[in-house]
């Protein structure tokens, strides 16, 4: 049963600390998305990658957030320094985007709930 995995599931940290969230996309998927869910803003895209290259990170605060894909099986989202307003659930999703094909369903991981005190 292929699924997206995310670690940690929950994270509590203090303001100013570095936070790293990890995602393992479904094997063979070539697109990875990071979404953030808050009560106020709902679900919003932070960044996404295709074939490990960043395609769009316009939704991400550049001064403190960074997203990378060191290899095809790992995506990371890092916040440094973290702030209380970063408290949210962060979802990773993966999909299979084929050249010339539009069809691509995104499959979500269980999310990382982050609380910054």
């Amino acid at each position: 049963d292929a699924r997206v995995t995310q670690t940690p599931r929950d994270k509590v940290t203090e303001m100013g600390q570095e936070v790293t969230m990890r995602c393992q996309p479904i094997l063979g998927h070539n697109t990875v998305f990071w979404y953030r869910q808050t009560m106020m803003q709902g679900l919003e895209l932070l960044a996404y990658f295709r074939n490990r290259a960043p395609l769009d990170d316009s939704g991400m605060p550049k001064d403190r957030f960074s997203a990378e894909m060191p290899d095809a099986t790992l995506a990371t989202l890092k916040i440094q320094p973290s702030e209380p307003r970063d408290s949210a659930v962060y979802f990773c999703a993966s999909g299979l985007g084929l050249p010339g094909a539009h069809q691509e369903t995104q499959y979500f991981g269980p999310g990382t709930r982050l609380l910054v005190l």
Binding site: T31, G42, L55, D56, H102, E104
Partner: protein, 116 residues
């Protein structure tokens, strides 16, 4: 930019009955995809159903079906024979079919309560 609106913050349904969730969207594109995702208390986002805009036939998945009205830009979800396990937040989402438009734009969600 596309927007997705879910006008019902919460819906309640009796077990075994039917409930319909509404979703409207705004876009100038002609080719796109629409989705319904379910988020139970476990917070896992689960794909319920998908509709391609170029298909006139409404998608169905077991007890879940959609009413896709392209001209009206409406995409409602019908849950038939509701079960206790259907209780969750339901999100409508839009995705452009263009090569560069792979992100999902979500509505605000509708909470579904199922009464035994």
């Amino acid at each position: 930019a596309q927007t997705v609106t879910q006008s019902q913050p919460e819906m309640s349904v009796q077990e075994a009955e039917t409930v319909t969730l509404s979703c409207t969207y705004d876009t100038s594109e002609s080719d796109y995809y629409l989705f319904w995702y379910k988020q139970p208390p476990s917070r896992q986002m689960i794909l319920v159903i998908r509709q391609e805009a170029y298909k006139q036939q409404n998608a169905t998945e077991n007890r879940f079906s959609v009413n896709f009205q392209k001209a009206a830009k409406s995409f409602s979800l019908k849950i038939s024979d509701s079960q206790l396990g259907d209780a969750a937040m339901y999100f409508c989402a839009y995705r452009s079919a263009g090569a560069a438009g792979n992100k999902l734009t979500f509505g605000g969600g509708t909470r579904v309560l199922v009464k035994p």
